[in-house]
């Protein structure tokens, strides 16, 4: 238990720093921004209570907001993502008993389902983020391109992180 908490605390710090220092500065072709820190929210154990998922989601959003001067944008998008996370998981693994391990991963969900789950998380988060960001500043075509491009990039980088952090046999 303590080991799990420590592992997630470390993951939180590393992902937040990476997002602030590295990923926030990337903008491929002027459109694609990797919003990779949501990998933290996606990886929280399914057995964790909804209140904790919401709290950790909100906090990670707020942290990224502070670093990137986007007050409330990530916090709101993360809270909404954290709130819908249970539904997203049940899309691919209908029964909780089917999980061999409480954390969503290749091992616990199967490679196909896990990839679909990460893609869905990317789509939901990028859509929420750019919609909220566009409140004050509306340009429909640019918005759609940004959502699609950022979803693709976020998904790719999350897969890369996943294959770097898990051992060989469990990789996608």
């Amino acid at each position: 238990m303590a080991k799990t908490i420590l592992r997630f605390a470390l993951m939180y710090v590393v992902l937040m720093l990476a997002q602030a220092v590295l990923f926030n500065r990337i903008c491929l072709f002027g459109y694609a921004v990797p919003l990779v820190f949501v990998y933290f929210i996606a990886s929280l154990p399914v057995t964790l209570s909804v209140n904790w998922v919401l709290t950790l989601g909100f906090l990670s959003g707020l942290t990224v907001d502070i670093f990137s001067d986007t007050p409330g944008v990530n916090a709101l998008a993360c809270t909404l993502l954290a709130g819908s996370r249970g539904t997203l998981i049940r899309l691919y693994v209908p029964r909780e008993e089917d999980f061999t391990n409480p954390e969503p991963s290749v091992k616990s969900m199967g490679p196909g389902n896990y990839a679909k789950y990460l893609l869905t998380v990317s789509i939901v988060y990028c859509t929420l983020f750019f919609l909220i960001d566009a409140f004050t500043f509306f340009n429909p075509l640019r918005l759609v391109i940004r959502i699609v491009a950022s979803t693709a990039l976020t998904f790719t980088v999350m897969l890369a992180i996943n294959s770097l952090t898990t051992r060989n046999e469990k990789r996608l």
Binding site: L54, F58, I66
Partner: protein, 280 residues
């Protein structure tokens, strides 16, 4: 009472969810940057320490480009210095020494050199974090320039760090004029399309312009002295209304590799403000 308690317990996740959503909305719609707390911005202690660390590595990346810019700027300034010196010599012959004002009185501006430790160009509202703060004499609403032109304006000043509203932020409007035509002035604002371009709005219809004209600050605010270069005109913007028209401006500052900037401390700003606020 017990029913209420049971109700809250049963729907506790909805209560928590609603609470976080409300907090996010409060953050989202407190748009006035001057009222925001410094710890919720990149000028806060933790965020600025992280950026300072990262910037000690990344600040080396663009040294070659910056060096070229500096050489260019140096050459221009040397030319201007020689011209000014010639003018001073000429004037010194015409005017007696006792009628000349001191150099200090002619220069109400002072520069504070700062390093950019965080910068964004990809968002809709872009900000820059610099490693100078209140302790170095920075105050909100001070102008920021680099060797090429205008960069932005300080909006949150922490003790050792400050956040600057970038020119690439639609919240920031800059009063500008065309260098070729002293009479007309408009306001420069970013339209969010490209980090290399902005729009000069509210120009009177009779403005005479050419592609390549230099756009400079008007000096109508205490933030920037008049005549600081901002960009060059690339063409007219399509959505013109009847009374005013707009020009597209290519910005001279290259926001994708900012490193060292100068904050303009205007020694007269307080007196100008006092005069402007006198009748309110």
């Amino acid at each position: 009472m017990r029913n209420l308690f049971n109700f809250l317990l049963r729907y506790s996740s909805w209560v928590v969810f609603a609470f976080y959503v409300v907090v996010s909305f409060v953050l989202l719609f407190t748009r006035n940057p001057y009222q925001r707390h410094v710890y919720l911005t990149s000028a806060g202690d933790v965020a600025s320490t992280v950026y300072e660390g990262a910037s000690t590595v990344t600040s080396y990346f663009h040294l070659r480009d910056i060096n070229d810019d500096l050489q260019q700027r140096l050459a221009t300034l040397e030319g201007e210095l020689l011209a000014a010196q010639a003018q001073i010599d000429e004037m010194a012959l015409q005017i007696h020494a006792d009628t000349m004002t001191t150099v200090e009185a002619l220069q109400p501006y002072r520069f504070i050199i700062a390093r950019v430790i965080n910068n964004s160009i990809t968002r809709d509202h872009n900000y820059i974090t610099i490693n100078r703060g209140r302790a170095d004499g920075l105050r909100p609403e001070m102008g920021v320039v680099n060797q090429n032109g205008v960069v932005g304006v300080v909006d949150v000043a922490g003790e050792r760090y400050a956040r600057v509203i970038s020119l690439l932020n639609p919240d920031f409007r800059l009063s500008c004029r065309l260098r070729a035509d002293d009479g007309v002035f408009g306001s420069l604002v970013w339209d969010g399309k490209s980090p290399y371009e902005a729009v000069l709005e509210e120009l009177p219809r009779h403005t005479v312009w050419e592609v390549g004209d230099t756009v400079v600050t008007s000096g109508y605010s205490a933030m920037f002295p008049a005549g600081i270069p901002v960009g060059t005109v690339t063409g007219t913007s399509r959505d013109n209304d009847d009374n005013f028209f707009k020009l597209r401006v290519k910005l001279l500052t290259e926001f994708d590799h900012l490193s060292t900037v100068r904050v303009i401390a205007n020694n007269m700003a307080d007196s100008i403000k006092a005069v402007e606020g006198a009748d309110q």
